[in-house]
């Protein structure tokens, strides 16, 4: 049991270091020896945790997706209005981006830009299933209650993810004048207004 927990902890450490290295140097310019060195482990030992660099790359994506998915799920299940949930999701996303910038950077700079790495076993929604699923459930419930306007899933999905991704990108480029969290309410309001049904205020 203890051994298993320790192994999990080590995997997390590798993910944290590797995602930062990948984001800084790019996927192809980062080698397994680089990662092993940065974590402080032998290359041989690294292979006890991941079969390959590609394997690690996919795992990082699934790992981030499950963290974010879990957060959306918690908010979804709270006993507050749909509108408040939109604000909470936006806020939480920005907080995570600040707490774990390497994960969001990784998504933007590696996952979206090196699709060939993810072409097998990570295509479509396979590695981001949890985020997508939780957003589907959230949107479905909101529409069922009459809070959201009926529409196709994808326009609604990008209406939420687009602004958040954009904000993180601007922050990463260093051109955002204020702390991202200070924009949370306005972005939340924008997303809510875009999605809400006509009767809602």
């Amino acid at each position: 049991m203890v051994r298993k927990l320790l192994k999990e902890k080590k995997r997390e450490e590798i993910v944290k270091v590797a995602s930062r290295l990948f984001s800084e140097r790019g996927f192809y310019n980062t080698t397994i020896p680089d990662i092993a060195e940065a974590v402080g482990m032998s290359v041989g030992n690294f292979y006890n945790y991941f079969e390959s660099k590609e394997d690690l790359a996919k795992y990082i994506m699934q790992y981030s997706s499950s963290i974010l998915g879990e957060e959306i799920r918690k908010i979804s299940q709270m006993d507050v209005s749909t509108k408040e949930k939109v604000f909470l999701i936006v806020r939480r996303f920005i907080e995570i981006a600040q707490e774990r910038p390497e994960l969001i950077d990784y998504f933007l700079r590696i996952f979206l830009s090196n699709r060939e790495v993810f072409s097998e076993g990570c295509e479509g929604f396979l590695c981001v299933g949890e985020v997508v699923t939780e957003l589907m459930l959230f949107l479905e419930e909101g529409a069922r209650k009459g809070d959201f306007r009926q529409q196709d899933f994808f326009p609604a999905f990008v209406t939420i993810m687009g602004p958040l991704g954009g904000l993180v990108f601007l922050k990463g480029e260093g051109i955002l004048p204020k702390n991202p969290i200070e924009y949370a309410n306005e972005i939340g309001e924008n997303i809510w207004r875009a999605l809400k049904s006509d009767e809602k205020v």
Partner: protein
């Protein structure tokens, strides 16, 4: 099995508020089943079949104990009030009250007798035998049981499949005790879902949807309103008229074996919220279902891409 040698079980079939669809479904059974039925069951009265005796005489003989009554089959919804529904000149209210402690088994055939169905939409007093929709406030309330100790047995469906009717009666005649589900339907028929055995199952598995009617290809669940994965019935196991089923013929399952059949509506389109189905197959959480669909949709089953005739 011994009882078989002693005597054929007796049955009367009465009708309330009905379209007679269950009678005609029953009469459309395969001749093999129907012969077996006639060999084992003595139909004392059926309104479309009996010619040599009047209902009033048979009814009198039963009330006076001259005739034993094993099965009372009821087709159609009934009323909780007197002088609303008649059968052969008698108030069906009175017939049910008089026979409730005499019949060994009372069987509700079809959705009207089981749950009230469409006629129950018209009036609050119109009910099924034990249920009004899913509430146990039908003609007989609560945990009512007949002489045999069994509750009202519901053979739901609009109409009920002839084999479900025939085999329920025969099973009881042969001395088998039938396990019933929460809505008092025999598990043998209603533990399956309409989806089980549908020829479009692969399309469901790989999330290939039919967007329009009139094709052999595609699953009807995603856009066209099919209730197959949400409906208890063996329509795709025990085929209709020995030939087919609605879903095999491209018609969405409308969930006509369920209590809420008349309450639903929008039978030809799937209720979606922001593109996500409001209801998902029975037994899985929406989260699990969406997760799984996402995975299935990511891959392509090449057999299911085009016309089935062209696939290898």
């Amino acid at each position: 099995m011994e009882s078989l040698k002693v005597r054929r079980k007796s049955l009367i079939w009465i009708s309330g508020l009905t379209c007679n669809g269950n009678s005609h479904s029953f009469l459309s059974s395969s001749s093999l089943s129907f012969d077996a039925f006639l060999n084992s069951v003595n139909i004392l009265f059926h309104p479309a079949l009996t010619y040599d005796r009047e209902f009033k005489d048979i009814y009198k003989d039963i009330l006076e104990g001259k005739l034993k009554l094993d099965f009372l089959i009821v087709e159609g919804a009934v009323s909780k009030k007197k002088t609303k529904v008649y059968f052969q000149g008698f108030d069906i209210y009175e017939i049910l009250e008089n026979l409730k402690n005499i019949a060994e088994y009372i069987i509700a055939v079809g959705n009207c007798a089981s749950f009230g169905n469409f006629p129950a939409l018209y009036s609050e007093d119109v009910v099924g035998l034990n249920f009004r929709f899913n509430q146990r406030n039908g003609f007989f309330e609560g945990d009512f049981t007949t002489k045999s100790g069994m509750p009202i047995i519901n053979i739901s469906g609009c109409p009920a499949h002839p084999e479900w009717i025939i085999k329920t009666v025969l099973s009881l005649s042969y001395g088998y005790d039938l396990k019933l589900g929460s809505l008092q339907r025999p598990k043998d028929f209603y533990m399956y879902l309409t989806h089980d055995g549908c020829t479009r199952n692969q399309y469901f598995e790989w999330k290939v949807e039919a967007e329009e009617f009139g094709t052999k290809e595609g699953c009807l669940f995603y856009y066209l309103g099919c209730r197959g994965p949400l409906t208890h019935s063996s329509c795709n196991k025990i085929l209709w008229n020995d030939k087919s089923s609605k879903t095999r013929a491209g018609m969405p399952c409308i969930g006509c074996t369920e209590f809420d059949f008349p309450l639903r509506g929008k039978y030809f389109e799937t209720k979606l919220n922001i593109g996500i189905p409001e209801e998902v197959p029975l037994g899985v959480s929406k989260r699990a279902y969406i997760m799984l669909s996402g995975v299935a949709k990511t891959f392509t089953n090449h057999r299911l891409k085009g016309k089935l005739e062209e696939a290898d």
